[in-house]
Symmetry: C2
Subunit: 303 residues, 2 copies
């Protein structure tokens, strides 16, 4: 493969950054990868597993970097951008991997120097695990990465970032920030909130013990616990910074849920059957698009 | 392994019955397995894949059977019980695999002859696929089967059914019908309803296309589509026949959801973080109990 950037700096060394580092190495996409994490423990772990060239400050990591990727929770993107701004190389590109785009653009843009490109991005990939040891090179293979360039961005910088992500295995689309935030509210943010809520309800019942919930989870519940085990800080920031779209989709969700609840209460079997039939088509589409497998047993490997 | 029954009859030949047939053969648990399905097409398919001895009537299938298992949707259990009652062998056991127990007991019990045992059961296992070709022998391995015997049942009949399910790989617990229906409302019924609703909302939005939902589903949404692709008839019957417990748990769910919604609206990050941290413990319990794997990428196999 071809090198796309001479030096890439990853700020924050969690699941996404560590997967990026392995994917960059797999693809030979950069001459050097540096990294920085605020926690000493994370930096030590990253060094131990030989993830990348770990620096003792963000300033050191971004020095001379052609691409700087902010891989920190959405809520601290602005502070990190402010911290690194004085050390950015002229002509460099700053990007990020945040799950929300309008809020990140508003927080980060003011700190980007005039001679630096800012191309926000969001790779739609992840697992329920966190930290530098959770990453693996194939995380982005056949997953989508949405680039959300701000107005007036140099198209060359966007194309280069696109080539970089394609080199890591991803498909790339370009999207407007507000539309991004609405699409993600549907495909990610509200599903996570609902999963967290369902697990919270189960944990809180007096008449059903936690031990029963755990033992008998194979009947559907366990699929919710997987995404409800995701990183709490990341998700707190997502909801606080994508408030408007999340609340809009939540409103639609509860409206539909109440409608189905009424069908259950009144015994309207036809309505339920019709609804449950319609939702099968989307599933077929997802499998055809290669975004999930058709393997049975809720995706678990057959013994 | 040891034969537990001389002849087992499976009425209904979907995912559960076909998995049972393969698991019975794997374990050598019966001398003969007969089967019947109402649809000619299903019977033809079952014959083609050599699933079991397929009969042209339920009466033929249950004749001389030591164990008859009703593997049909909950809503038709009563009608099937009425149909087979005259042909049941004296001393035989009738069981079922329905996801709801109180309603099945009320529907089936009146038709069970005095010289026949009735031991309702519910194997907590399944996939999102349906039909006689969806079954596989290991479906019940390390999954739980809940036996819900009615008062006055001969303990010998219960023990024999327990040995039969253990022979198919399952763990067996005994539970009271009303508690069963509440536990399953939490671990299965409400999660399915919520998943159906979320998929329905996504399908119905004008500002986000189905194609976008499908392409960008890896961010969480796809985990919901899996269980929302389950059999519509089965699930219609589940909700109509476990109305009370489903509505109770739904009430708790919406109460908690509104509470989190308010936290998002008011920007109460501490509350969100605390909630999202608490739900991780349940996930750990499920993995420790062997009811799911710790494999990342939402359980999909790494490439």
């Amino acid at each position: 493969m071809t090198q796309v950037y001479e030096k890439v700096a990853l700020i924050g060394l969690g699941l996404i950054a560590s997967s990026m580092s392995w994917a960059i190495k797999r693809g030979g996409l950069a001459g050097q990868v540096t990294g920085y994490a605020r926690s000493q423990e994370t930096r030590d772990t990253a060094r131990r597993i030989d993830l990348c060239d770990v620096c003792e400050s963000a300033a050191d990591a971004v020095k001379d970097a052609d691409l700087v990727v902010l891989c920190v929770p959405v809520g601290v993107m602005g502070a990190v951008a402010q911290e690194i701004a004085p050390y950015l190389k002229s002509g460099a590109t700053v990007s990020d991997v945040g799950s929300v785009k309008r809020a990140v653009i508003e927080a980060v843009s003011p700190f980007i120097p005039d001679d630096v490109h800012f191309v926000p991005a969001h790779p739609l990939a992840g697992t329920e695990h966190s930290g530098p040891e959770a990453g693996f090179a194939s995380l982005f293979d056949n997953r989508w990465n949405l680039l959300v360039p701000v107005e007036g961005t140099d198209p060359t910088a966007v194309d280069r970032l696109r080539a970089f992500w394609e080199g890591m295995g991803a498909n790339v689309d370009v999207m407007d920030p507000d539309h991004h935030d609405l699409v993600l509210a549907v495909t990610s943010h509200v599903p996570h909130l609902i999963a967290y809520t369902m697990v919270g309800v189960a944990d809180d019942l007096r008449r059903v013990t936690d031990s029963e919930v755990i033992k008998y989870s194979a009947a559907g519940f366990r699929d919710f616990t997987r995404i409800a085990a995701s990183d709490p800080t990341m998700w707190r920031d997502v909801f606080l910074s994508n408030q408007e779209a999340t609340l809009e989709i939540l409103g639609r969700f509860t409206e539909e849920l109440f409608d189905l609840q009424r069908a259950i209460r009144t015994g309207d079997g036809d309505k339920l059957h019709q609804y449950f039939t319609r939702t099968r088509a989307i599933r077929r589409g997802i499998i055809q698009a290669g975004q999930d497998t058709d393997a049975p047993d809720f995706g678990r490997v057959k013994k």
